[in-house]
Symmetry: C2
Subunit: 210 residues, 2 copies
């Protein structure tokens, strides 16, 4: 948590600090990111930073929180729109892609974060993954009951497949030229279709005789 002093700052100055931190943590993972570089780009003295934050990790966690709050907010209306399992997944990943295009800095910071090896940070990543796993599993069970998904599949394996592909999908679009967006969204659809045909074929349900 930042200190009170940080919140008392004038907006322009506070934004400069945040912006400089965003840029640095987007460029480098936590351990290699440099506080000296951040304060230099923010145009403040080294000591000032320690008036705002307890230490490097405090600053980092604040930035991470901003990023994930923003992403959660961006994705909030993706779920529960309808009950189509496959359509929901496609909305989710396409929207996650659009987030990456719209907020490239946030996107890069998130990538750097979940690749972090730092013990304390790593625990948060695992917690987060388990949280998403239970969300996904809930959706999956519902879809199995609805008859959208083959109910004989291993739930763990199904989550694993979607987690892997989703992670790589999001990570993959670093070149975020807006012109290619349509092509990228189509690619996401192609990839998810491959998974969908494996998880159950709508209308045909090819698994029933298995």
């Amino acid at each position: 948590m930042p200190k009170e002093t940080f919140f008392n700052l004038r907006d322009i100055k506070r934004d400069r600090v945040v912006q400089a931190a965003l840029e640095e943590f987007a460029k480098y993972p936590y351990e290699r990111a440099s506080l000296s570089t951040i304060v230099q780009n923010a145009g403040i003295a080294k000591g000032s930073m320690y008036q705002y934050f307890a230490d490097k990790q405090d600053l980092y966690l604040y930035i991470i929180k901003r990023v994930y709050d923003s992403k959660r907010n961006y994705l909030q209306d993706v779920f529960a729109k309808d009950q189509d399992f496959f359509a929901t997944l496609q909305r989710y990943y396409q929207r996650a892609y659009m987030f990456a295009v719209e907020y490239p800095l946030y996107h890069q910071i998130a990538i750097n974060f979940w690749e972090s090896k730092d013990d304390k940070l790593h625990q948060e990543i695992i917690d987060n993954k388990e949280l998403r796993a239970s969300d996904f599993t809930r959706m999956l069970i519902q879809a199995m009951e609805d008859g959208q998904v083959n109910p004989n599949l291993s739930k763990e394996a199904a989550f694993f497949v979607y987690h892997s592909v989703g992670k790589e999908l999001i990570e993959n679009f670093q070149g975020l030229s807006a012109e290619e967006a349509e092509k990228h969204l189509e690619f996401i659809r192609d990839v998810l279709d491959i998974l969908a045909y494996g998880l159950g074929r709508k209308g045909e349900q090819s698994w029933v005789k298995n």
Copy 2:
């Protein structure tokens, strides 16, 4: 490339240097790995290391080469045993898993390597990925002609799915207890089955009417 001096070393000493480097690069990615730690664990002087290698990167690339040579050798007879596309993939990933269990240090170094952000190293990763992509695509096209795989699928998307899942599969098994090996191998089979049913159902070929 190591200097001649390195190869002139007595086996015991050379192995000590290699072993210390392996342990350090397994523990930390390139940038955070410490030469000082390596020389200390190897029981040699700092200066000696620079008699053997030009610099840190020279040492690292030598270690990386060892790792990948070893892995390539370990996986060499996986392909071309038979023409069953899905069986070959399963052999590949199960064997890659066994490699990880058998050579945990090598395994960890490989993971750290392909997560590296260093420009020069990153290029090698991309090259490597493209090489595997063309290998995979060749197999895929063959399987499409054989009727094992739905020929209407996007080849890029198909590779992407296998690449993502394969990468995460290999990365995932860090707790490499030999007792759980059977369970892990079964999990790999479950995951690949999900993909297979999406790429085409053997015997049934559910895509033909699509």
